[in-house]
Symmetry: C2
Subunit: 196 residues, 2 copies
Amino acid sequence: MGVPKISVERKQERREQILGGARRCFAENGYEGATVARLEREIGLSRGAIFNYYASKEDLFVELAARDSARMSELWIDQGLEAVVREVVELDPAWLAVYLELFRRARTDTDFRERIESRQKELAGANRARIEEAQRAGELRDDIEPQHLGAFVNVVLNGLALLRASEDELLPPTELVLDLLNDAVGGPAGVRRGSP
Amino acid sequence: MGVPKISVERKQERREQILGGARRCFAENGYEGATVARLEREIGLSRGAIFNYYASKEDLFVELAARDSARMSELWIDQGLEAVVREVVELDPAWLAVYLELFRRARTDTDFRERIESRQKELAGANRARIEEAQRAGELRDDIEPQHLGAFVNVVLNGLALLRASEDELLPPTELVLDLLNDAVGGPAGVRRGSP
């Protein structure tokens, strides 16, 4: 008998345990404040075990950020823009604050920036296809280039995330955001689904 | 003869010198990285002289942030929303990054948050009056509460600032932003002025 092997399922569970703990630890302490000792405590595993799955704290963050982007992208594809807006305004402000802190880092740290961008590029094709499909279905207006429509929606989503992160009381009512976003980018069928 | 007094004009010049240097220093080094020694060097005055005008580094930042808000507010009042959008997408990304870093601090540091908010409240009345006037003039739609219209515009401006801070290539074309913003919040006369 050789060394006991950890099963694929067990590995996947470990990954989820590590990412969940890392997210809580970043949210609670900020990126810089999330020391290895704090990560160990929150995750419940030794640094050896953690860094066996993710080589560095930066790797952990890049993976969490990429998963967020992928989740938003899937949500848009599966349930439409309205669901994405509703999701963004409900995100954990503490985690969003870490996310924003990293925008600054991406600006000055080229290597980090490239890692984030390369993960986002993996989603670009699917996002564009979703926008084109929504244009054909009349959910989004079709007189504007898909990438420009996507960029404008991205502006609004980032603005919502920023105000949500600062727990700003000035966040407008979600229903109003959806209505005005619809007036800006909606097609004849509208961006809202399932409204009574 | 008593101690020579510094004139009102000279004091005002000093303030501008201090604020200009502090802004450059924050942009170059980040808020935390802007040490007193670096502030002295960039401003060209001793810490004694600087802190005679502003009691702390935080005071310097609050004053700079309040001036930014006031300038945007005046720009909106004098030249309309189009001018504000054009200004935001041209702001110094390095300074915007400091500004965003402080959003996180405002979230956790209640005292700091209250100082920022009290300065912003000074502008709220003028901003609201401007929105109501724009509604009467048909620049902005009048079927939505002024504070909600302002809050939505604030979402878009913050989103633009965030993408600008990260020097994101995904910032949509300014003309498109103005057109879509007009479709969202414009009245019969439209938010754009002076377009050919």
